[in-house]
Symmetry: D2
Subunit: 498 residues, 4 copies
């Protein structure tokens, strides 16, 4: 059985001390072994990065960017292979994996603009004959810790921009589906990156803690659940590191009575069930304003969900695949059970999906729950599964109050055709990413991704313009040349001790 | 005796529970009493700010900026009064206080540009007929905690920009010299700021901790010593607040053999002894490259220091005044003693300054110490007094290694006329603010202030462009209008004609 | 009788060769004489500007900006006087003059941000150890030629930004109402501007041509009618000057059936009749989509117009005043006559306004014309009077085609509450300034003003960010320091001829 | 013999009415025929572009950029072929052609950043609940007219950025060496560009005039000689088109006595003789400050020039090739003759180069002329050949006055190691592109290219950030939603549930 190792200083290595199973979630079977890095191995990766830093920092941004151009080409050439690796370990259907990869590539494309993005500000004559300018210098070694749900996209949010800014990188991917992540790191190496600039260590908490406590690591980017995000942020901050830690979500869509309802249903379908709902931007709660809107929404949604197909990634006709683990499957089903017990109506029930030939796969079918209330467990916590819950309220303000009362503030959306409603909503809602008739308002790569409240710890958002600032430190130079010297000819007789 | 209170919701209040003496450092006498805020009083200030927030956030940036225009006028009109208050409690000579005020006003001027600075990024067609843009929304209530050495300038680094971005502010000034700070807050009120947007609480650790632990406070800006900065940063971060905490410094100037030496000496004089060296950007170490340069430097410096005049702020002919407290005076003298004991040469000795009529004032004279080495206590720690130490090294690289080995990385400078030396230095030195023939490279208000290493905790620097980002949170909106609606005439029959 | 002269090199001068009458349009009487500058006088102004340039260009932007801060204060202090001068010569009611002044002051406020706006772009390592940056340097002497309808605001679009960028300015205001313009120039002088940086020459075509043909004038900003704009642009361009020339307009509002009609009527009232319609952004054509919308619009408009009050500026209860000259009054009435003759319906007729005590004033009352068609003369040409014409079309696309077919493309507006209609309109309409439920979409001072098609000749729009680029020339510096020199100690024995 | 045609609407076409010879300048032989477009053919190209515009403008910038990513790949893949085509018709040695191509590709790389570069500015609450933002919309059909000396690079300055901004393009390349230009246009087509977005017409003045007089062409970019640039600029401007027209140059290097002279000589060698001096940034005048510097410079230069190799592009060991035509060869030799006659010293004489086997080629050898004075014809006019002239002056100020007195202001350079001299020079010299120890200060692609004085007609420089502004028109939208509508429940009864 294949053992997945680490990429350190341009070499694939394994430690062979501790390991962990990697599953195929569509079959429930163990497919590979993952070598778990010890603190010592992590330190080797950090050392390799530290060692590569001086030369890499001095490489002109244009040259650094050109490696990203080449990296983009390689990602496109090897797209099928990448999506296959995602599918085998994550379970994502190929069209969805392709979408993930495409979104990731957009971040590489953005990184190609480094020479423009790294420009500092130049001021002539801040005083008489005094000039001042800012430079955005790389930090040194920076680390990324990434989740299972986007094994390619989320790492691509981080390392291309960090590296193109002149940093060296140590990535610790998810231990659930590490192969695609490792593979794209190898492609970056192939694109011409010098050894040591990009390193991957697979592992668990030991590896994470090694990264958090090593003084050579200057910044940490994290995406995962809120409790871990909070731990990462506190630990990294206490250790003097720059940190951005993205956590959980509970994303609501408000459905106004004037919404284009067919469009709303169509959009919600993908946003709620795509990737089995295992997205931090998954739309998991629909808030209908008025019972009339609620009835139409639930009716149309129920009908549309008849056509949903769940199954293995090997059949591209499926809409979504299994969830990531047996435990997670049970947890999702548990939330549906709890909603039922607490009085909600299970309109479409995905607890017993029929996936012939994959009876041991970790599948949950698309589930629609109506008449959910804020007190229910299934509302208060993040389910991270293919479950859409409907809440009914009387007014748009009630809907907004509901959203603002939730601990998370990642994404949200309104379906309406009214300009005023859209503007009021986007202005006032306490959520970082807002969609207007867009249920998954993931910012494009040239804007930045970040939730509010307990969905993100840190000052700066992920990728886009904020990432440039996150992965660089500002240096401000002020310059005056004190006397005319060679220009006036008076000092031809230097040396200059007067 | 006057009791200095708090500014809460537009009203001056005192609590009269605990208080502390405020001294005139030039005479050593107690001049005023400072009311120390309890946690409860701090909470009232926070509540006032929170209450003022919704209306203030919705006030157009242009209107917010106009209050800053008016504030600038008032600061200029009342400059003498402000400088007098600074002098009485801090001891700073009037021309120096005026310089501090002027630097502070520059931050108000920058804040007047809020409408420009708050522009978000607008992208048409991120997808077909989909637009996306970013908004930089205020955080809510934010706090500032400021040091004694710039009772006017450092608060002005913070609250004008925070407020003009739409936030409400609670400021805790230094307990040593609170009057000028309180006074400028009252001027801002007079400029038309709505009650509650700007609040001042005087106090000690109880007040600080109340700010650090209140959930309504979304961000904390701090300037002070490194141990406290680290405490503030860790506590604020652990409590989910955004934080920037600026700490101590040990700023070196490299004096190259080709330097314009008369200019260098002239510059160092002000940079080392101005404001009694109680500046986080004070130039406290001169590193001479080559003994020849060292000898010339020390010789010229010694001569120039003959003319230095130390005395009370009431005589504007003085160059600098007393240090802030009796304890601090003793500490500075202790550092000079230690250098002498550890083998350095006291070239000019300021331990026993003669200030007739002010024998009880907290004065230390300008002191020059030669042949300092890196092992000496006086080199390793921040003295924060009118003491310039000279170290001699053989090469520029040695000088740079020395700087990079120090725990602080606030400011630094090189004196040279060689373009290559200047560029190599500014590129590679691990310090956030770099001067080329500029000994106090404090960035102008439209750039940002921040050291590296243990001189600053946080991602973003103080004032300037970074402050805009620090005092706002990014919201990204993505918008699509789903069907043609009224445009295509399908809904001509809507009953909208009123 | 007062003779209005010129401001040259800080001095008010008159030539007393040729002069022209200045009228009070509310009474029809001659109130002052205007001295008309010969080419020689214009050349003196240019020479003064040229002479002042070297020192002004080297004045730090922050210091230049501070004069603008002071200028803003003076404009506010003398607002009543300025508005009185506008009223006496232009006829504008005081609240309208105050609005004009306020809009002008916003441009001064924007100019206060010069240190931020003039920042260049700084790139480290465009090649190994090669840096490059851009500087935006002033052009030298630049000229402005401004129209009668905004004697204060339009000059303030130009000279504050030009001057704060480091240029010296020669302004030729309208010969109809020159006093307020000259007065604000004097206030700028009072604000501390060095002599010669700002100059005003009053005059006619001789003065204009002198400016257009003098090689020392590097750029010309013009606002006026399209034929003159075109002449100015061609002549200036042929003479190698940078030029932006803003011309005429025919601004349409589309009124959709779903519009908030009371709001639309209320908005249109001010936009069509304010300042007697003598604004290049006046809303002069309402395009009703559907006859139902048309009927409601005309009905409500007719009713609302009953309350319109036309009269002299001395009565602040009036809504608008006279037009600028007897000839212009006759021209406006002629357009109304032609519309009537060509078949349109005069719903409200302003051809014979009753202004007791001002029978000789140049008044035209608010006029509403329905059933206008594209062939009519009154539609094809710019009326520049208090006349609103209504066209009725069947669809929004027809309305947009109408707008796009017109030779002008200055401003336009849509009244709707439908997000999709608004977005489609703003995206596709061939007009430079677009309002959504905003009938006078004049960009705020921190954006830029400019029409499309034959409403503006030139690449860059007026004021705001574009003005910074217009009033500066880009210089790009690329720098490498070739050998280590003093840093490595090898070349201590300079001079360097090897 | 091959006939070179036009690329119109994705098709290669020829007209076969008029044609012109294309030469191999290394042999002097006719190698191909160039079909000369009539006005009618040009109009077909414009029509194709106009037709392609609506769909292309609506294509998301990210998709437009992706074609540029692919175009870059194709340019790299076919680099040898491109360089061969350049060599055959221009005569440039392959390493030089590769350098040209590489510089061109950098502009394609910059164009890949279109989504970032096209961002508008978004302002919330310019008034209460009023938002405003700017959009940078494409112009429509734009044209480029390019010179022989960079048949690949200069076109790549223009069309990638124009096209990625959403415009459609008609390019008229040089008639001397059109093949490489046409070939890269075909590669862009292959990269996936829709038909009609990019068109190439080959031709002479008839084609140029057709472009200048067609109303559908909204902007013209030109690079060539100053008289033609001026004609293009005047004609295009008079016809209401946006225009930037780059003309001639006379680029001086100041050689200071403290310069690193070996480096200076080495740099000057390439800058003066590379590409036979047929570059608008060629360094054609060296101004030595002091006779000592002059003697060293001329001595070292003479020595270094012994190794210069001139010959056909087929031998990559050559340093440079022939000039473009027989006429041009004679003109260059004529300038050398005139200098000799007017009293200058021909130090190295290239008038009779020995290129065995290529006796009919248009070769001129590297020529060094000393003791040139400002009155000489060879100094006053642009030679555009491999001729370096040396002028000797007494002071740096004299050198600068000389540069500023010349009609051109394209590029310039100073060789020094003194920071003050470099800063004074770059600040004050009236030249648009300034090098400090960089003899060819061509800005990198993410800055902008442009000379001052008679080297450029127009407001905005070529490529880089200025090109984004040049190839787009600003639209400013101001938006208010007037009443609460669906949000407040007043319109709940709307019949919108579909």
């Amino acid at each position: 059985m294949t053992t997945i190792g680490h990429l350190i200083n341009g070499q694939l290595v394994t430690e062979q001390t501790r390991s962990q199973n990697v599953f195929n979630p569509a079959t429930g079977e163990i497919s590979k072994q993952l070598d778990l890095a010890s603190a010592k191995t992590v330190e080797q990766a950090i050392a390799a990065a530290q060692n590569a830093f001086p030369a890499w920092r001095n490489t002109p941004p244009l040259k650094r960017a050109r490696i990203m151009f080449r990296f983009k080409e390689l990602l496109e050439q090897h797209a099928d292979k990448i999506c296959q690796l995602i599918g085998e370990e994550h379970g994502k259907i190929s069209h969805d994996a392709m979408g993930e990869l495409q979104r990731g590539i957009e971040n590489v494309e953005y990184a190609c603009g480094a020479p423009e993005l790294l420009k500092g500000e130049h001021s002539k004559n801040v005083g008489p004959n005094i000039d001042s300018w800012s430079e955005f210098q790389p930090l040194g070694v920076v680390a990324g810790i990434t989740p299972f749900n986007f094994p390619v996209m989320v790492p691509l949010w981080m390392f291309p921009m960090a590296i193109v800014c002149g940093n060296c990188f140590v990535l610790k991917p998810s231990e659930r589906d590490p192969s695609s992540t490792l593979y794209i790191a190898q492609l970056l190496q192939e694109a011409g990156l010098p050894d040591g600039v990009m390193n991957v260590v697979n592992g668990d908490k030991e590896a994470v803690d090694a990264l958090l406590h090593d003084d050579r690591v200057k910044a940490v980017s994290f995406v995962g659940s809120t409790p871990i995000a909070e731990y990462i942020y506190r630990t990294a901050s206490a250790n003097g590191k720059r940190c951005q830690a993205l956590g959980g979500a509970k994303n609501h869509a408000i459905v106004m009575p004037d919404a284009d309802m067919d469009n709303a249903v169509n959009q919600l379908l993908g946003a709620a069930f795509g990737s089995s709902g295992e997205r931090c931007m998954a739309l998991s709660v629909a808030v209908a304003v008025g019972d009339a809107a609620g009835d139409v929404l639930v009716g149309k949604m129920k009908e549309a969900m008849q056509k949903l197909k769940v199954g293995p990634c090997t059949d591209s006709g499926n809409d979504f695949g299994p969830v990531i683990t047996r435990q997670h499957q049970e947890k999702v089903v548990g939330y549906i059970n709890s909603a039922e017990q607490q009085g909600a109506t299970i309109v479409v029930d995905g607890r017993h999906p029929n996936v012939p030939g994959h009876e041991n796969g970790f599948f949950v079918g698309g589930t629609l729950i109506d008449h959910v209330t804020p007190e229910m467990t299934s509302y208060q916590e993040e389910i991270f599964g293919p479950v859409l819950q409907v809440i009914r309220v009387g007014t748009m303000q009630e809907a907004m109050d509901l959203i603002d009362a939730h601990e998370y503030g990642n994404g949200t959306c309104i379906f309406t055709r009214d300009g005023e409603a859209a503007r009021y909503f986007s202005d006032n809602i306490q959520v970082g990413m807002v969609g207007i008739n867009i249920p998954l308002p993931v910012p494009v790569a040239y804007h930045s991704f970040g939730g509010w409240k307990r969905s993100l710890f840190g000052d700066l958002h992920a990728y886009g313009p904020d990432a440039v600032r996150f992965y660089t430190k500002r240096k401000t130079v002020t310059q005056r040349w004190p006397s005319a010297g060679v220009r006036e000819g008076a000092e031809f007789s230097m040396p200059t001790m007067k």
